[in-house]
Amino acid sequence: MIELTVNGIKRQVDVVPEMPLLWVLRDELGITSPKYGCGVAQCGACTVQINGRAVRSCQSHIGEVAGKSVVTIEGVDNRNDHPVLQAWIEHQVPQCGYCQTGQIMQAISLLESIPRPTDEEINEVMSGNLCRCGTYPRIRAAIHTAAAKKMTGK
């Protein structure tokens, strides 16, 4: 049994330690917001936080996540009023929406390290997250809005 904390709740799974966290979350624990897109850290759709850092869950073996704290979008603090999620809704970013939870988890992490990112900084941090529908103009706008919201505490 491997034990980890997911969205504040202790969970135990009985799988091989090489299994990527992504598949533990999706198939073993039924948490489906992290998406399988590429399996090789090319798309970012599986992005979650481990101990507060945004990571690609398709590349994190569950054995190495043991004892750590995982947060998916279901478990983001204050999610109904979270400035990033709010900005994403305001700008109606999603089309198909499949990549968006990964985009949002990456954006939350971006704004934690750079509160008012420039376009150049957004490009640098967000370029690992692929959007096949091409919602990039809206992702950029939503990040700026979220940054402004955070600054003004709204």
Binding site: V15, V16, M19, P20, L22, W23, R26, D27, E28, G30, T32, S33, K35, Y36, G37, C38, G39, V40, Q42, C43, A45, T72, I73, E74, R79, L85, W88, I89, Q92, V93, P94, Q95, C96, G97, Y98, C99, Q100, T101, I104, I122, N123, E124, M126, S127, N129, L130, C131, R132, C133, G134, T135, Y136, P137, R138, I139, R140
Partner: protein
């Protein structure tokens, strides 16, 4: 009698008396299905007690109101805008109804294909053109073909869903009139309630039982757009919040009690069978429950998707060889040799005397190329299936419900009506979910696992390997310019046939020339005295299918790049010349708008360049201006302006998002994507080989929707075709280098 026989017997052929020169379109025999529904309304079957359905889109029970989204949601917003078109007329507010995707039924036949199937230019509003479209509509009605594609979501449903809502509203009012004794004229509706003159409010759901007992008020008219509450104004897409919160369940997120997980390894030589395999290593791997042999590969059944994928990876397979050339260079050779009479698709259009025209003034000749490209929506192909003695039930996101039934049934010896299909929210498509590899394979697997639900997920690598790509194409264009004018344009292309390929795999093969190979080539609206557009269909190459904007995605690049070459040879300004040559007033307005938006004033200099392109696809005229800078790290795309005329912008925010996404799609794939074959299989197996656009390359994209076209048009695909030629034309303006082949990064660096 087998399905195929009935199909061919009943198949309607365009190109018969009604629509000369058109295409063949197979008919699905839905007689059995239709007979099982009351008045052709599939919702009548299985309707609960005290519930009402007035048409195939509205269902009211004592507990809830359900509106049917008839098309597939592939990210374009069907699951929002279609119910809202009904809700607008029913005076329902978001939150007062549930949404369900339509099951297979001829009641949902797509009227939106009529214009595309009638062999007339979109701008042609002549009586002959309209008659041909009416004939095409009739044959679509007869065939009952229910399909999402061809940017037809809004054109198909703009009228009928508003009428469906109006009928529901008026029938509910009639039921309230009957109950209260108040004349209908004195009754109104608001926010899910019928309101009587004394102010009493009756919720719609309370009227369901009574409304079910009276005939629907069929002559109800939809309201004038000036009266709209929701439509035509910025509105919140109904699926945005659940997608942002990670709550929306895509097909791949579905779970059914007792299900097992499957992964597959299929013959990379598309369509060819498995010869033999050795699963000895896989059998003992963790989580593995079973190894199955299927027609063109092997499947592993396991306790989760990852175990299944890891194990299937370890199976050694021997494959039957490909029936198309094993190496990419030979694909190009076949294509190069296809400009011959025996491969003629069709001479689609001829104006004046091209051969004579080409002898006037300066001759310009150019060859263009476009490679195979993969679709690769981010949600890989998947599905859940369970087979019992009664038939198969399948949960899969797909654009052709009836074809899913046909393909699954054919794979395992069932009748199509024995397949129960549940459509799912999908993580994109771009044409991928019009194909069937996951459906066919899932049917085979589930048939060997009878009674147990099986969830199939393609690995990204398998999805790439089985992706039936966009057509590959070469254009050989000639033209002439004289005294500052284009005199002649002789446009010829050879390509694989995407639409015919799709039809064949749907069980409705066509012998007629592929109309998608004309798209973007024959529908040129410039006043050119001598003009000809001819397609050749290459044989024996990779299967191909529809890829966002289909034929126009390649031909639009060829045509609008070549027109640009002619304009430059004539010494004219690319945008002013297009405006002056444009023969359709509403289309000219599109070009004028993009000129105004971009403040076009000719060459920019200082290492900057602008290019313009104009393509009408699926009836929607779209003009784009792309601005680039030459930097020491390569070409940077700074800004794009788009003007597009859809007759009516129904959902403005989503409209802008769709247009921007189309531009990103068109630019990204033009810059860096191709699918090539080696040893019979695709060489690109993940996004690092086939990347398209990421955010760092994404320009600012300014969009304006126009409403001058006499018809309501779609916008999912039309922004794609002008993007590549506008970019190539901008690169020419900035550098003097003319790029005539996609992907462009083979010839020039990009930031």
């Amino acid at each position: 009698m087998g399905h195929m026989q009935r199909l061919s017997r009943r198949a309607f052929v365009f190109g018969s008396a009604a629509v000369a020169g058109g295409i063949a379109f197979g008919s699905f025999d839905n007689a059995a299905q239709a007979a099982a529904t009351a008045n052709g309304n599939p919702l009548a079957v299985g309707l609960g007690p005290n519930s009402a359905t007035f048409n195939p889109w509205v269902e009211i029970s004592p507990g809830k109101i359900t509106l049917i989204a008839q098309h597939a949601d592939i990210g374009q917003g069907v699951g929002s805008v279609q119910p809202i078109m009904i809700a607008e007329e029913m005076d329902l507010d978001p939150g007062q109804f549930e949404i369900r995707f339509a099951g297979p039924s001829p009641a949902y036949f797509n009227t939106g294909f009529a214009d595309e199937l009638a062999p007339f230019l979109a701008a042609d509003q002549s009586p002959a053109a309209e008659a041909a479209r009416a004939a095409a509509l009739e044959s679509l009605r007869t065939s009952g073909l229910q399909m999402t594609g061809g940017s037809s979501t809004i054109p198909d449903t703009y009228e009928k869903l508003r009428v469906a809502g109006a009928v529901a509203r008026e029938t509910l009012k009639a039921a309230a009139a009957k109950r209260s004794g108040v004349p209908v004229a004195d009754i109104r509706t608001q926010s899910g309630h019928v309101i009587l003159p004394d102010g009493r409010k009756i919720p719609y759901i309370e009227l369901a039982a009574e409304a079910a007992k009276i005939p629907p008020v069929l002559d109800a008219k939809p309201r004038d757009p000036s009266k709209w509450r929701i439509l035509g104004k910025p509105m919140m897409r109904l699926d945005v919040r659940s997608k942002v919160m990670g709550e929306l369940k895509f097909g791949i997120d579905l779970k059914i009690d007792g299900m097992v997980y499957a992964a597959v390894k299929l013959n990379p030589h598309k369509g060819q069978p498995l010869k033999s395999y050795d699963a000895s290593k896989a059998r003992s791997m963790p989580g593995v429950k079973k190894i199955l042999e299927i027609k063109n590969g092997v499947a592993v059944i396991a306790t989760n998707s990852w175990y299944a994928m890891k194990a299937v990876d370890m199976i050694d397979c021997a494959w039957a060889p490909s029936i198309y050339p094993a190496e990419q260079a030979d694909h190009w050779k076949v294509l190069e040799a296809s400009f011959k009479p025996e491969f003629l698709g069709k001479e689609w259009r001829k104006i004046g005397d091209v051969e004579t025209g080409l002898k006037v003034g300066t001759l310009v000749q150019a060859e263009y190329r476009a490679p195979y490209v993969a679709h690769q929506p981010l949600e890989p192909l998947n599905g859940i299936g369970v087979v019992s003695d009664a038939g198969m039930e399948i949960w899969v996101g797909h654009q052709s419900p009836q074809a899913v039934q046909y393909v699954a049934a054919t794979a395992i010896g069932l009748k199509p009506e024995q397949v129960i299909f549940h459509n799912q929210w999908t993580g994109g498509s771009f044409g991928h979910r019009l194909e069937f590899e996951n459906v066919r394979v899932l049917a085979e697997i589930a048939n060997q696992m009878r009674g147990t639900p099986v969830k199939l997920v393609f690995s990204r690598e398998e999805d790439f390997l089985q992706d039936i790509p966009r057509q590959i194409s070469i254009a050989r264009h000639r033209g002439s310019v004289d005294k500052g004018k284009i005199v002649a344009a002789d446009l010829q292309l050879a390509a694989t046939a995407p639409f015919k390929g799709l039809l064949e795999r749907m069980g409705a093969p066509s012998k007629d020339p592929d109309p998608q190979l004309a798209a973007g080539m024959w529908n040129v609206y410039y006043d050119i005295p001598h003009f000809r557009a001819t397609s050749f269909e290459a044989q024996g190459l990779s299967p191909c299918t529809t890829w966002r904007s289909v034929g126009a995605s390649t031909a639009g690049f060829f045509t609008e790049s070549f027109i640009d070459e002619l304009i430059h040879a004539a010494g004219l300004d690319p945008l002013k010349a297009r405006i002056e040559m444009c023969a359709v007033p509403t289309y000219r307005k599109v070009l004028e708008t993009v000129a105004e938006m971009s403040n076009w004033k000719g060459p920019l200099g200082n290492g900057k360049g602008r290019g313009v392109a104009f393509v009408e696809s699926f009836g929607t005229p779209t003009a784009e201006v792309v601005e680039v800078s030459v930097t020491d790290r390569g070409i940077r795309i700074d800004k794009v302006w788009v003007a597009v005329d859809v007759g009516k912008v129904v959902d403005p925010v989503n409209f802008e998002n769709q247009v921007q996404g189309g531009v990103v799609w068109g630019l990204g794939h033009a810059i860096n994507c191709e699918l090539t074959y080696a040893k019979g299989g695709a060489q690109q197996t993940n996004y690092n080989h086939h990347e398209a656009m990421r955010i760092y390359q994404c320009p600012v994209i300014e969009v304006r929707g126009l409403e001058n076209d006499p018809k309501v048009r779609g916008v999912g695909e039309p922004p794609v075709p002008p993007a590549a030629p506008a970019l190539a034309n901008a690169i020419f303006a900035a550098t003097g280098k003319r790029i005539r082949e996609m992907p462009f990064d083979k010839f020039i660096d990009f930031v």
